[in-house]
Amino acid sequence: MSARARGYVAIAAVVLVGLVLTFGISERYHHRILTLVFLWATMGLAWNIISGYAGQISFGHQAFFGIGAYVTVLLAAKLKLIPWIGMLGGVGAAVLAAVLIGTPTFRLAGIYFGLATLAYPLIFRIVMDYLGYQEVAIPMMREQPGLFMQFEDPRAFDLLALGILAATLVLSRLVETSRLGYSLRAIKENEQAAEAMGVNSFRCKMYAYMLSAAPAAVAGAVYAHAILFVVTPDAVFGVLVIVQTLTVCLVGGAGTLWGPLIGAAIMIPVSETLDSTLGDKLPGIQGVVYGAALMAVMMFAPEGLYWRVRSVWSGRGGEAARTTRPTPVFAVASVTPAPAPRASGAPLLEVRGISKAFLGLQALSEVSFDVREGEILGIIGPNGAGKTTLFNVLNGFLLPDRGEVRWLGAPITGLEPHEICRRGIGRTFQVMRVFPRLTVEENVMVGAFVREGAPDRARARAQDALARMGLGGRACLVPTGLTTLELRLMELARCLATAPRLVLLDEPLAGLSSDGVELMSSMIRQAPAAGVTVAIIEHTMHAMVKLADRLVVLDQGRPLAEGLPGEVTRNPIVIEAYLGKRWLARHLATQGAIDAQDHRP
């Protein structure tokens, strides 16, 4: 059975267990608990799509829950619309709200996004108060209970809640296994690296937010009919809603569809049972016991029960596969044929008068050079010369203050990093930016999605790229198990999986042993033959002079020299930049002698 099919079988099993419980229990109170388990699991799953997968922690997710509840109930109260249709209105309103909230709020990164989302449910509460909807009762429709979601039989609510839970599980599963899911996980791990691998992070986050608003709205509508009967701002926009959501997700584990389900299945019955047993005798004690249980889970499994159990389980697995020796074959471009080369030596990338300043520090001033098709261009310079800043301008991380970058003759200045990646410029990073919780194969798949929409095709492409780097045996590991050399190779594979025509390599040899330098250099040297042009920043000059066809020297943001490696490293201006004026003064004479010796036939 394929992994994909297994996921749906597991969901079917959950539904089966839900059905057995629905028809197995008899007490009305137990049915209420079961409905709540299904509803909070759904709400947790909704939150998990934006916060678990994409890592954009939403502290205001009850906004959508409340919108779903209010819109559905108001449509019934004012327009006599049946909740089955009203709910669709609620979902529409919630998705619209997600777009309106997301558009400004996704500009904020990390914790600031989370803090900003706190505001929205508060706003909705105030608006509801202002409009006079402090209490909206669901109009009683005893003649047609089914049509108006007012069932006498508690099993009907169980089934309804189970139905939306199953739908949300399927939705989560679809997200997890789709291109969107991989992109979201990459964004969560490292948004900049994801952008550089061609992921449109804003759009992906927005889709995730919309997808997570919809089930939250449905859960809110069903909660109003099954539990509340009278909708108040406090009950649906209140802080307890998000607390309950976070509890089930954090206990069960975020970033997986099983986490919220496990969390709800444990915490909801515990809290309800405590309320009904201890709450009578010692009012307030149920909160203390609940809190203690929560703390115990957090201490034992801070990432959630699902991940804890999984890591214990996989810890029993056998030793990881050993690395195979890299087969020095570079051509990943074989999956899609390399575009027809431009006239040999024609400029692929033209850099014209780029300047960039940070708070008065002139990081780059008036930098101009060409990268020619099929060459390996080395960019060198002393510490602080502006080399990495230059790459950040070229791949779109930074907007230059002045100047222009042209790619295949067309300007690309001002394009987003993912757009530049799609046009065929890949890059790697000085400090490696891997996605630590994705496997090696999934890391490379993120790059492969630039050219392949379907996960299976992207996986094949990633496997191909990894095999060429000799990392075939490492595909299923997480990157923490890799050596520096393997990580650098993996980053290169991820970059090549985007099928670039130009790769920007930022210190690919840093921290490698001499064997590693040799291997990595041989990989890079094969790039032009495979139709990939290389621009490389490197400090290890010994390797660089052997590797590069041409060198561009930067010093304090200014272009200093350009030419063949042998010329550049003998250029007095370059020697001065590296070793100082006074060294040059001392050694200019000897330098002449060395050169004369070298040029003797």
């Binding site: 840093a510 490698l512 100082g580 060294w583």
Partner: protein, 235 residues
């Protein structure tokens, strides 16, 4: 005073130093030069104990200090003036200096020590109530040096004091280092990219390249050796 044998340091598989051996005698001024990424900073960090060494042995005055933690090494009389200065910008100049004398042996001599530092760096005396963050780059470097001296060290580790400073200021800083050394009988281990300035001041030097010592010798011999250039430029 300091003897390092076969030191290797790796950060998560990244080889920063490989089999480095060097010695610094009591009262000596030794400089380590080398291009960016050669492992100079890592070497100083390994000596002061802020990174763990993978293999090798570090001896200080004949005593094996390899297993000692950073604060224990500081207690032996090793002061590290780190790269990028790392002063406390929201504290005053005086508070920064006083924090330098935190170590037990130095606390007793805080008063005279402070007076001595303020004499060496008159500009710090003038600005002693100012927030350290408001100082210029050169002044901040002097403060970092002064803070290191407040610990009354026997061995001073200096990491790139010239970094990010204009040539005139650099000259001034190097002059001060020379002056301190002559007046205090300090042992100094300096790490620098500015080859000539650093080598001219010192007694002996080492050239580090991609984590290995590739050249060693007296300062005038290194200054005359074209192979130093090879370490920087590859040819």
């Amino acid at each position: 005073m300091l003897k390092i044998t076969g030191l290797s340091v790796a950060y998560g598989g990244l080889h920063a130093l490989e089999d480095v051996s060097l010695e610094v005698a009591e009262g000596e001024f030794v400089t380590i030069v080398g291009p960016n990424g050669a492992g100079k900073t890592t070497l100083l960090r390994a000596i002061s104990g802020s990174v763990r060494s993978g293999a090798g042995r570090l001896e200080f005055r004949g005593r094996d200090m390899t297993p000692l933690a950073a604060h224990q090494r500081a207690a032996l009389g090793i002061a590290h003036v780190p790269e990028g200065r790392r002063i406390f910008p929201t504290l005053t100049v005086l508070e920064n200096l006083e924090l330098g004398s935190y170590r037990r042996g130095a606390r007793a001599q805080r008063g005279p020590g402070l007076e001595a530092v303020l004499t060496v760096f008159p500009v710090l005396r003038a600005r002693r109530q100012q927030l350290a963050g408001s100082l210029s780059g050169g002044e901040q470097q002097m403060l970092a040096l002064g803070r290191g001296l407040m610990a009354q060290p026997d061995l001073l580790l200096l990491d790139e004091p010239s970094q990010g400073l204009g040539p005139r200021i650099v000259e001034q800083i190097f002059e001060t280092i020379d002056q301190i050394r002559k007046s205090r009988r300090l042992t100094i281990l300096l790490v620098e990219q500015r080859v000539v300035e650093a080598l001219e001041l010192c007694d002996r030097g080492y050239v580090l390249e991609t984590g290995r010592v590739v050249l060693a010798g007296a300062h005038d011999a290194l200054l005359a050796d074209p192979r130093v250039q090879r370490a920087y430029l590859g040819v």
